[in-house]
């Protein structure tokens, strides 16, 4: 197969970038999208040119490292699939492919297609945890958890933190990410003590990082490689309203100290 690639090239965060084009021939339809880029990079390297920088690691759709907006779609054309699991057979031979990095103020481009997603980590650090230290803990079966509740919590917890929701959102909003994280804990009995403070803190941090607001477009859900439902955004809104309705959760604060 043969493709014309339009790729965003940028030297560093401080430099200006631009779209650049190249032709790539002899692409196998069995190549994954990233293997196609590997192949392109190998040819660039052996010509002494700088390869295209892009993030990837596990290449089986779970680490959340890979990104790329392909032909205007975060993680490419296939539903509920990461870029690393997107295959070249999905693209018509001879077609033109546009490859861009995630675009958001909170995800500055570091080089070419690599962005800095530490804003996501800071949202987590603001409250995305249950404060427990390592050591003996109560017998887990002493607190039964309804099977469906556990499953729903897991539906949220499968988020791989890739940032496709932000990339796909016309507003660059991180609501789906934050919602998944808040909901994962809010649904479980273990998460109750810090429930109020968690919702307030994570929503605050999301704003501080400069993510946009949610307008319920549902583009995030469509782009999410784990197909996380925007129902969790409803849940986050509910959590936030609930948290502001009772700003002083004495039990939660005791626990946090």
């Amino acid at each position: 197969m043969k493709f014309r690639l339009n790729v965003w090239r940028q030297g560093s965060e401080q430099e200006k970038g631009s779209m650049q084009s190249c032709e790539l021939d002899e692409v196998s339809s069995d190549m994954s999208f990233l293997e196609m880029l590997d192949y392109l990079n190998e040819t660039l390297i052996s010509k002494g040119e700088e390869p295209i920088a892009f993030d990837s690691d596990c290449r089986e759709g779970v680490c959340g490292m890979c990104s790329l907006v392909i032909n205007g779609q975060a993680h490419g054309p296939m539903k509920a699939t990461t870029t690393c699991q997107t295959y070249m057979r999905l693209f018509p031979d001879g077609s033109e492919i546009t490859i861009e990095p995630w675009r958001a103020g909170a995800f500055p481009v570091l080089r070419d297609l690599i962005v800095n997603r530490s804003s996501f980590d800071r949202i987590m650090q603001a409250g995305g945890y249950i404060t427990v230290h390592s050591g003996p803990k109560p017998e887990p079966n002493s607190v039964p958890i309804n099977q469906q509740v556990a499953e729903e919590s897991l539906d949220a917890a499968v988020c791989i933190g890739c940032g496709a929701c932000v990339a796909a959102c016309p507003n660059g909003s991180a609501m789906l990410y934050t919602a998944a994280k808040v909901s994962h804990f809010a649904l479980l009995p273990q998460g109750q003590a810090e429930r109020t403070d968690r919702a307030l803190a994570m929503v605050d941090q999301m704003q501080t990082e400069g993510f946009g607001s949610c307008r319920n477009y549902a583009e995030c859900e469509a782009a999410c490689p784990k197909a996380i439902s925007i129902n969790f955004i409803g849940q986050l809104n509910r959590e936030y309203i609930r948290a502001t309705a009772k700003p002083c959760n004495a039990r939660g604060q005791m626990h946090a100290q």
Binding site: W8, V69, P170, G172, M175, R215, A222, I233, Q235
Partner: protein
Amino acid sequence: MSRTHFYGTLVGKKVVVAVSGVILFGFLLGHMTGNIKVFLGDEANGVPKIDVYGYFLRTMGEPIFSYGQMLWIVRIVLITALLAHVVTVILLAVHNRNARPVRYAQTKRIAATPSARFMMWSGLFILAFVIFHILHLTTGSLDPKHFVQDRVYGNLYRAFHNGGFVVIYVTAMVFLALHLYHGIWSLFQTLGLDNPDRNKRLRMFAALATLALLLGFASVPLGMFLGDMPEPPNPANLPPPYGGR
């Protein structure tokens, strides 16, 4: 720990948009119900029923409130809601613009409905229309030749025998419907009232409510223009306070 106050956060702002939206949506339902009284004809004394309704709006709350006071209270609530809605949305829009300083070279939308994508434009159009509408049929300053204070039926009759006004009003209602279809569904999401079991029904509700408002509102100008509606009575022949003295 110090936290950003409610309105300071993105979620808080969205809640304000949603709550003000609920108020405005409620107003629209009432307004539309009032409007279609135009088709109910006249009271026995010859006063169009919609004129009676108009008089009720101005006198409601009596004797605790004097003439027109309650209506102004409602208007102030509505203006406040509208201002909160519009100002908050503008603040969010500015914030959102900054959330993506560099645009994509290519974007492809998959999930967002046209209704969702053009919320801003439909909203701005509706805002302009509301101002136009108030000047046209509340203060009458836009077309004073055909406007008589408080004669609701007559004013509608005269306005909507002008094809230009009909086009403007019907177009505005299409924009309103576009705005509401996303807005109504969205407010459930924003207020956290959705859940997977009810989402289908919420979408359905949004569609039905939108359709009802569109048909209800558009029926008045279209009915006046296309239908065979009776001419307004001569005010002089009506009892007070509907014209005669």
